[in-house]
Amino acid sequence: MGKDQEDKQQIGLTAKGDEAIQVLVADRRFANQTDAYRFAISYAMAAGLDPADAPPGGYNTKFNALGTLESGSSIRDLIDILGIGETHRPFATAEKLAELGVREIARRLEGNESLADIMTSASG
């Protein structure tokens, strides 16, 4: 994949990722799916999940990366600073991190861990 490939502007989740994010927003833990999606990106980075392990395709658009998801430049800065995945295509990387993040968090929630436990263990 060449370095010239443009970054994604519309990002989302696979069908399986979408099922997982429903678990996250159940019981109104998050105000909305956008908050859960951002949290999942952050969690995936903290947990050392590798974007290369995420499905390469099959994502259904959920958000406009710049218009809805990104406020300021936090997501791009995170990916750049931590040097995760394709740093020149931060939103494409963020999408894969979100996919892995929601699946992992959903798995832990269904294992009766609380979001507070998950957050504390991830933030070290």
Partner: protein, 657 residues
Amino acid sequence: MSLRFESVSLKNFGPYREIDTLNLGTDSSAPIVVIHGENTLGKTSLFRALRWCLYGSPESGSTPAQAARHLSEYMNRPASRDGETDMQVCMQFTANGHRYRLVRMARFEGGPPKLSADLRVDSTVIQQASIDAEIGRLLHPQISEFFLFDGELLKDFYDRLNTDRERDLLRESIDNVLGIPALQLAERDVATLTEHALQRQAKALKNKKDVENARKQIRELKSKQESLDKDRKEIEDSLSKAKSALEDVKERIAGVEELKADAREMEGLEVLIAGGKQEEEQLREDMRRLLTTGWLAPAAGKLNGALQQVVAKNDAAQQQQKAIQVARDRVDVLRKQIQGGICPACQQELPPPDESTQMDLAEAEAELKRLKESAGDGPDLRLERRIRELIDTTTAKTYQQKQEQLNKVVATQFERNRRLNGLKDRLKDNDAATVRQLGEEQDRLEVAIERYGQILRNQKPKQDEINKQQDKLAGILRRLGGGAQPEVAAEAFFFEYVRTLLTRTIERYQERTRAEVEKAASEMFVTLVRDPQAYQGLRISRDYRVDLVGQWGEAMKTSEGGKQLVALSLIGALKRAAVRGGPVVLDSPLARLDLEHRANVLKTWVPELGNQAILLVQSGELTEGQARDIMGNRIGHEYRIYRPSDDPEMATIERTQ
């Protein structure tokens, strides 16, 4: 019977954690035990401990089953807090030459208390089922008001005596203690036997016309008697059913108080649950907000790692730049020295250059060059600042705290809801209409019982008429039959005689008791009042209506104080009639009397009560000094209730004499 209390021991009853063997034993020369205690210290608790031990109910007017529901209120609270579960009162007493040891115990382990009692007479253990009967035989609970007397009731006693129901209760109590109902039943049985004897006597008659006449009269009498017996049995059955139903209704009404408490608790719980719900919702909202603003929190650890690296890199770059600056300054100084001039550092004239200065300059320039070549990019402070901005060190901690708060609130709400559902289950069948209906049912039953009692009383003249006709017929049969069948005539005569004897015995017994009570009450009253010459005494009618009789024989009205003296006199007289030789325990009997009447009561009334009087008094009615002045060496034991610490829920008893 000569019953005497010897001692009482208490464990965890009311404010008493442990009272080990309070000696109550007295003799005829010093029959009085005085227990002093200020208000709220525990006089009434001690009084109720005695009542509970004897009858299973701390308060008069309630059955042991009713009392059990509120018994936990008497468990010593500090003991409960320490995890103790048992409450116990032990009494030792003597009666009829035997030693009695009665222990009553309640265990509170959640739910209804577990109750038990143990009675030993000398070394014989009395069966559980027989304990109440054995105690009742010695001190019948129906007359407990005459020897376990709560002074607070004094003010009501006189007025209660002037209602038909209370008088009936009083007379019934006395009759029961004296065994009158058994005599009345015997009277009825003998009436039946008399009737059979009359029938046999009629059969033995020789004149046909006489036989027919006698048989006709017997049939008529028998029919009347059967009708009367049938009516009486129906009424007695109805009365028994109504009394049983009334007991049931009263128990349910007693339960209503608990239901009211449940309803109040339910209202309180609903308010708490609503508040808890708001608190829970607020916490969840706070937590959602934290996730909106603090979504970077999980990455804080990684960002910290990155920050350490950037900071180290920036520190190294800054060190390198400092070294370059030092080398550059050295080159500048050496160059100026060679050119001649002022030192930029110390502003002194520089010494003239020599060969070594040239060599130093060459070395300094070489060092500067080496440093410049080895230096990378300068420090990236913008990146360092940006990473610091992204690191969130507070959200995870705050979120965790909120989660813990939420867990507590949810657990509390769960408990509250569980309790609320329990209360709702209890209350669902007892709404206001049901409670009102219970009150109406009680009124209806009380009216019915009153009416049945009246009907039974109205039967007496009818029975008397039948008896009279039976006597008349018996006389006729005796005359007509002559000695035809002397054994049948003798039998009829015998039964007639026994019946008459029983009737007279009952009347005499009742009348003697009434007269005895009237005489004793009158004597007591005139010794208590300040102006005895103004009264003849008390008149007690057959139905126990009490009148105060003035010096000219007229019924008099009296003051509130006078009513109390009448009540005291009557109680003393009834106690003497019903509990001969037994003990009397009086809780605050003097509180409403003036000093002169108090002295009269102590000097004349108390000694009249028998061989043992236990007085529970507070200093407002009788100080320790006054007690000794008035009663002197007639006091066998004197105790003081006091608080051993600042804890208002604890009290103990010490001996003062």
